[in-house]
Symmetry: C2
């Protein structure tokens, strides 16, 4: 297994990317290609006291870096010698099994779609993070790769999310729920009502385990393994969870820092506080899978430290080993509508 890692993407690049890669080699026995400015990567290795390239590590030189200020839709074309473009071309050409980047989400999404391509028949790639829930986490698909949705997109997201939960999270018969504002099939907008119909059919045919509409509150509490959503609502869901987590973490901090008595309390439940922090820490998961692309691509959080990069590499290995892409490819006929979806073909990816 060989993972291609964008050494230059993210707030803490290249230091944390290089250190994360080194730790992944040690812990998982994986091979890594670090893509980026050779001198920067070697400099970071030198800072770690490493003179010769360790076994399992290669460097692919790329002179440019895609910045957050670059146009996400065109950055990979304008910067042909960027770590993003060089890395994805390595993936495309079979030089590695998966690609990990902590750089711009929009640029990664555009570049992966246009260089590596979607799986044939998949209309939109989806961002599918694993969000913390009372049920030990659920796949949220899509969380914002494409803002607008069509019933067919949601059908494809449901299949891809279900396969992801099964293959990558190891859930044998994932419960797939359609994010909605009520349980009845009539709830929501026309998009949800049409999607409900398609998912019900797929459920009846035994292709996915569709449990119906799921309200956001129940989804967080763990009633499903896969939360199917258009990218706009999925993003609202994800960011509201993050915001509420941060808000309550701040409240807890204030509570524990108040006085000597409260600080003692914090010591007494230090393990528990660590557990809650761990639940809320996106670095634990690693990154967000880009599902629907013909090769495994993982978006690590922009603020990833070495620990998060290492976990994203582990996740990339699991993804590459999972058979997920093969499964989507083999079952693509069940995810397509005979006629193009009514809501049309919207080419904007808005993240």
């Amino acid at each position: 297994m060989k993972i291609i890692v964008d050494a230059m993407g993210g707030d803490n690049a290249p230091e944390c990317n290089v250190r994360g890669a080194l730790n992944a080699i040690k812990e998982y026995g994986v091979e890594i290609i670090l893509v980026g400015r050779g001198e920067d990567i070697l400099g970071t290795l030198a800072d770690e006291g490493i003179g010769d390239l360790p076994a399992g590590l290669e460097i692919a030189h790329a002179n440019q870096v895609v910045e957050m200020s670059d146009n996400p839709a065109t950055a990979f074309k304008e910067k042909k010698d960027s770590s993003l473009t060089v890395g994805l071309n390595l993936l495309k050409n079979g030089n590695g099994d998966a690609f990990v980047s902590a750089g711009s989400t929009g640029a990664l999404l555009s570049a992966a779609t246009l260089l590596v391509h979607r799986i044939k028949g998949i209309r939109r790639a989806a961002m599918a993070p694993v969000v913390p829930t009372g049920g030990g986490g659920a796949v949220l698909i899509d969380c914002g790769a494409t803002a607008e949705g069509t019933p067919e997109y949601l059908l494809q997201f449901a299949f891809m999310g279900s396969y992801y939960a099964e293959h990558v999270l190891g859930r044998p018969e994932p419960r797939v729920g359609l994010l909605n504002i009520g349980a009845e099939p009539s709830k929501g907008t026309e998009l949800q009502r049409q999607a409900h119909e398609l998912l019900t059919k797929a459920g009846t045919e035994g292709r996915i385990h569709f449990v119906g509409n799921v309200e956001a509150r129940e989804a967080v509490q763990g009633s499903v393994d896969v939360i199917v959503s258009d990218g706009y609502s999925g993003n609202i869901f994800l960011k509201t969870m993050e915001g509420t987590g941060l808000f309550l973490a701040q409240k807890m901090k204030t509570m524990f820092m108040k006085n000597t008595k409260s600080k003692l309390a914090a010591l007494l439940v230090a393990d528990g506080i660590r557990d809650i922090k761990k639940t809320l820490d996106s670095g634990e998961v690693g990154g967000t899978a880009l599902v629907g692309i013909s090769k495994p691509v993982i978006k690590a959080h922009g603020s990833s430290d070495a620990f998060a990069i290492k976990n994203a590499i582990r996740q990339a290995c699991t993804f590459a080993n999972s058979g997920l892409i093969e499964d989507i490819t083999e079952n693509i006929e069940y995810m397509r509508l005979p006629v193009p979806a009514k809501n049309g073909n919207n080419d904007q990816s808005t993240l």
Copy 2:
């Protein structure tokens, strides 16, 4: 000030509704009309040791009760002698200043719209709860009264939310944000892009203080006083907050109940735990205002206890005293588009 209270709506009716009303009379010196089955209300009063009607309390007899199983759109017509219909007719006819109900949201919304009517020019009434945020709470408008949105609805929600924050929450120049998946005006779907344009214009004209798009994470952390959203996304936002709050509250409970040491810790920060619980408790706020109806209507939570009913009555008084409806009426011309909104006229209210 006289508040009409649905004695029969909600999970804990009529007991908690009656007790909440009694406490409101005592605490706020408000007059109350309890609407519902006279014998049930008198029975509850008797259980409280009250033989004669206390000063400030009237009973308006209504023999029927709208149940959750009734069709929300037509319940008020089919059950003309329900506490809902009788209560709203009292409001319409000027027998009281505001109406409070903990019954079915959908039935209340339909009945208020069709019996009491919207303010002239307002296209949709909105549910506008005050959600807990790092900024001491924000008005979320709409949270699900109408699932679909049009740019004009969002423009009206922005004005109504701004006036509500100013008049009811006492925020002098409320920061109005459009819920979206990124800060740039190009983000989101066509709905958000068009609404952004309308709100920018209203901001430039000095009619509202529009601060631009707001992401869900920043909204929860308190960056705005008013969160403008279509009902579908607003509902996802609200329910995700609730779910995440419950999820983390459960985690905290597990942490504190683990062993003797952790139980001691809980005692040491008992005040802080109470504060956090209070932050998450919808009963503290009272209820959700139905904004855009020509008279003040408050939806109390279905699970309201006497404390929540009392707070909903307090909120109804503030609403009725605020001049909010007058302000909306006087400024309606700034909230209307010359041509009907492109997304059309959608009559479905889906809660």
